[in-house]
């Protein structure tokens, strides 16, 4: 069962990944096959499990105290570009170029 070009393109768009070549797509197919093995188990009437620790894992609740922050300088050290303590980003999301415009092998399919 192959994944259609439309779906592949949609996945590239959603996850901002680049399958790049047939090897990449094949790896995706293998990953789907691997995950599909889950369907071999009949889970009718079984509650999905959130954690192997089940009831023993209590969600820790923190007190409402201010204990962090005030490290603007440190945070901005990671920024390639900054303007007066703001991070700089491109104007809005840059849309992925259309299939025709990308040098992707998916074109050929």
């Amino acid at each position: 069962q192959k994944v259609s070009v439309e779906v592949l393109e949609r996945l590239e768009h959603l996850a901002l990944v680049d399958f790049r070549d047939s090897e990449g797509v094949e790896r995706l197919h293998k990953a789907i096959q691997f995950a599909d093995q889950l369907h071999e188990v009949n889970t009718d009437g079984v509650e999905p499990m959130d954690s192997v620790l089940e009831d023993r894992w209590c969600l820790y609740l923190r007190e409402d105290d201010v204990t962090e922050g005030n490290c603007t300088k440190e945070l901005l050290k990671n920024a390639r570009e900054k303007v007066e303590e703001y991070f700089v980003a491109p104007p809005g999301n840059i849309p992925l170029p259309k299939l025709e415009e990308r040098g992707t092998f998916l074109q050929g399919s």
Partner: protein, 476 residues
């Protein structure tokens, strides 16, 4: 022409009133230096983990109880993925599968007609309340073709309140949101000030003919006040009706409300339909809440949230406060609405009633007609009222005892307010500059008496705290 039935649903995001954020210990504060209230987790640096803030959970439980919801004793957290510069992790932690509260209701009232003579009560169903993170803020700099990102708001706790499409027009939507706002403020779970972004409302609007299925709905965003909410909803209803009557179609799209033009416009970023690829948040186990029956014996108190304990400590909600006012003072339900609508007015009214012999049914008229109209005209809040409840009570007592004429008293409150406003200016200048009151009155163009002697007498009487004499002099 077949009639149209408009259908309006609302998605409301209320910022939780807490010291620190939902999953981190950085401070929650409006207007701070950019990126100063940001922890490593908020900036999504690798290796950081979310830690749930107890206060945020309590706020959501309080709100759920106040809105008659069922509180889910077990609720779950999920990741909602999308890319945007102000969402550094690339996903928002929210509650998509099992939110903290479901199936509630909100009752609200509105005037039946424009004459404001009679009120009708309506109910809107609350689908759910969920806890989720707020995103950072993007400042668009079109000239330099860039976006400046401030993460101070990233990670602040939000309660998303989803209202079912039980409303039919702008007025109903506005009344429902106003009541929600009052409830949140009474609980203290959110300060719900729309102007500061603490309460954000998105409207879902569609129209259809009776008996036919619901029409395609549009989502309207960028609504910055309750007044604009009513306008945006009514505009969108009209736009859809006109479009459909002209054989057009409605697109399932997101539109922005342009307050200057008073219309809705399609939003710029016309992306293909979003797929948020929800997945369970692997770093957070289920949130378990308890009640009196299920309270675990051996757990650390700080780790336990008891729904019943919170229920017992809920303050009187606005609807209860109104009922009590009506019952205790014999005023009309409409009056109780106005009293609660103005911050501090109900307390002012009760304070005056305590200090005067005049019956509450008569006092309410002075509060709602004379005092309130004066405050509105001069854009003052109740706290800024030039006339204190003590003084107003005095005035009303004098009237009751026929010490001042009723015609004078009719103008009384307004006159007193005007007088006291100007008088404050007068006294300050009189103390400071050694000019005569008359000189100051002329200079400042105050609307006070021009009789020097009388002015001094009144000033002195106020300074000596002899309000009765003041009132008689001003109004007599």
């Amino acid at each position: 022409l077949a009639p149209w039935i408009p259908v309006v649903g609302l998605e409301i995001h209320a910022q939780i009133s807490s010291n620190s954020k939902l999953f981190s210990g950085s401070q929650v504060q409006f207007a701070a230096p950019p990126n100063s209230l940001v922890s490593f987790f908020d900036a999504s640096l690798p290796g950081t983990l979310p830690v749930l803030n107890r206060r945020c959970v309590e706020a959501a439980v309080m709100t759920g109880l106040a809105l008659n919801c069922s509180i889910n004793k077990k609720s779950l957290f999920d990741r909602k993925h999308y890319f945007y510069a102000d969402l550094p992790a690339g996903y928002q932690i929210t509650q998509q599968r099992v939110p903290i509260a479901v199936n509630g209701s909100l009752s609200y009232s509105l005037y039946i007609d424009n004459k404001m003579s009679q009120m009708v009560t309506k109910t809107v169903r609350i689908k759910q309340i969920q806890l989720e993170q707020d995103s950072g803020k993007s400042l668009h700099d079109d000239t330099r073709s860039q976006t400046l990102v401030d993460l101070n708001r990233a990670g602040v706790g939000l309660m998303e309140v989803v209202m079912e499409p039980d409303m039919c027009c702008g007025e109903e939507a506005a009344a429902a949101v106003r009541e929600l706002q009052l409830i949140l403020q009474t609980l203290g779970s959110s300060q719900a000030v729309m102007a500061e972004g603490q309460l954000r409302v998105d409207a879902n609007v569609s129209v259809h003919h009776p008996g036919e299925p619901y029409g395609v709905r549009t989502e309207v965003k960028n609504i910055n006040s309750i007044r604009f909410l009513a306008k945006a909803v009514d505009y969108e209803i009209q736009r859809q009706i006109e479009e459909l009557e002209n054989e057009g179609t409605i697109l399932n799209e997101t539109r922005a409300f342009d307050s200057k033009l008073g219309c809705t416009v399609p939003m710029r970023d016309k992306e293909a339909k979003q797929d948020y690829r929800f997945m369970p948040e692997p770093n957070l186990p289920p949130l378990i809440l308890y009640d009196a029956k299920s309270l675990p014996a051996n757990m650390n108190h700080q780790q336990v949230i008891n729904i019943d304990w919170i229920h017992e400590r809920l303050p009187d909600l606005p609807s209860v406060k109104r009922e009590k006012l009506v019952e205790q003072y014999g005023i009309l339900p409409e009056h109780s609405f106005t009293l609660l609508n103005e911050d501090g007015l109900a307390e002012f009214f009760e304070s005056v009633v305590k200090q005067t012999q005049m019956k509450p049914k008569k006092v309410i008229g002075w509060i709602l007609k004379d005092l309130l109209s004066y405050l509105k005209q001069h854009s003052l809040t109740v706290k800024e009222s030039p006339v204190s409840s003590f003084l107003l009570a005095d005035l009303l007592n004098l009237l009751e005892r026929n010490k001042i004429s009723s015609t004078a008293a009719k103008q009384g409150t307004t006159d007193l307010c005007c007088f006291y406003c100007d008088f404050q200016v007068l006294v300050e200048l009189w103390k400071g500059e050694g000019k005569t009151p008359l000189e100051i009155v002329k200079e400042q163009e105050l609307e006070l008496l021009q009789d020097e002697k009388e002015l001094e007498q009144i000033c002195q009487a106020v300074i000596d705290g002899q309000e009765n004499e003041v009132i008689i002099m001003v109004l007599g």
